[in-house]
Symmetry: C2
């Protein structure tokens, strides 16, 4: 499985232009940029630079947040950008509870309706949408789709053009992970890696480098491959206390080394 | 549903003798003590004092940690103590990954085998064992039973004398919560309440007072009652940054007020 850089991994050190150059310099063939970085660099410029360096855009981060205001326009723009970049998918972080609400069911219904509303546009643009189930500890604020099973139920309901992004950080603990990865099959549109640190000091930005935590990466990768996934593995590390403070070239070197070991 | 005090809620302010007095003073009829507090006070003394105040011991915290050394002796002692106190159940926090291991499956197997090993002793002592599924964010260190479905599968496998403790903090996010609470039925041996704060600042000790967070307590309570549960609701708040710093009488008054509103 080839390596892709989710640009969040070095977002405190580099801008997108530097990230694209960094990938090329380190022989990393995939990149998954965030939309704020894209906006800062300019879509046209980014596209040009990514082409020049022969990088594959393994995903665009992110659409979603269907429980927020103005979700529709923003998602339609995200689909256009993903199309423009030739991204393999648009990753959906679906959003947490509706503002001021404790109603998980209603929030989840809004998310389903939001995905259903943008799906025809995504199909027309040829952009697969990848629901990323987020860890239950992020249910309130970021995503109340929290298991692979729940995401796949939604895929079953809404049909073609929709799949999942499997991020080990969010799903490693799930007793049904093996069976649901198998069920997902070709609907796995992205595979994200990092590690779960023990202890974890922050609910959002304390992810670990592969090998530094407790996730059995070779095992999960074997399930994902057995399910038929033939894409990249995307490194996505939010690390306020460690990797965001380091020399970004060291970060990229370490990602490569660790993945060759795991 | 009557109120029970899980003594962790005021553990930084009071010893067990003070907690027992506090419950009586505030008209709280249930108590669920922790074993370290019990050891400090002395089992005989605690039993006498709890009887004098006419309190119901709604649970004993805790047995479990089947992935640690010496789990067996410790659990057998816990069963004896629960029997001695007439506790309605012994709560099991089952333990995280085996030491130095990334093998969730092996760790979960060890937990199943551990519960199977102590279950005959618990049955003989008339002490129901309550598996408490813990939030997935505590899978590595404290419990790799992380959903109600998983806990109930284990109950199905191991048979009589085993049930679950449903703590809203651990399970509120679960898309299958309603159906699994229904499935649990009479196997619900305890119902624990607090709230999920948004944002949450710590993975272990930042629980909220009922009403201060995003959990729909009346809804979950309605499911638990519909499943046939007729026991107490036990308030269990770990709160390093807030409630552990307050006057414990204020904490108990607030618990009562909030539960009458939720």
């Amino acid at each position: 499985m080839e390596l892709s850089l989710n640009t969040a991994t070095v977002r405190k050190q580099w801008n997108l232009a530097q990230m694209i150059d960094g990938c090329a310099r380190h022989g990393i063939r995939g990149i998954s940029p965030w939309r704020d970085q894209l906006a800062q660099m300019g879509l046209r410029e980014a596209k040009k630079s990514i082409r020049e360096k022969n990088l594959v855009v393994t995903g665009l981060c992110r659409g979603g947040f269907f429980t927020a205001k103005d979700w529709k326009d923003d998602n339609l723009r995200a689909i256009e950008e993903a199309h423009e970049l030739g991204a393999q998918s648009l990753v959906l972080v679906v959003g947490g509870l509706l503002p001021g609400s404790r109603d998980l069911r209603k929030s989840r219904d809004a998310i389903r309706d939001g995905i259903a509303a943008i799906l025809p546009h995504a199909r027309k643009a040829g952009v697969p949408l990848a629901i990323e189930p987020l860890h239950p500890m992020q249910a309130a604020e970021r995503a109340c789709i929290n298991t692979l099973e729940q995401a796949l139920d939604l895929c079953d309901e809404l049909g073609d053009g929709l799949g999942v992004a499997v991020d080990v950080y969010h799903v490693w603990w799930d007793p049904k992970l093996a069976s649901q990865v198998k069920r997902a099959g070709k609907r796995i549109l992205g595979y994200h890696v990092c590690d779960w640190l023990s202890p974890t000091r922050d609910l959002l930005n304390d992810r670990g480098m592969m090998g530094d935590g407790v996730i059995d990466l070779p095992l999960i990768r074997s399930w994902v491959e057995a399910a038929g996934y033939r894409g990249f593995q995307e490194v996505e590390i939010f690390s306020e206390l460690d990797w965001w403070k380091r020399d970004p070239d060291e970060v990229l070197r370490t990602c490569k080394e660790r993945l060759s070991q795991c």
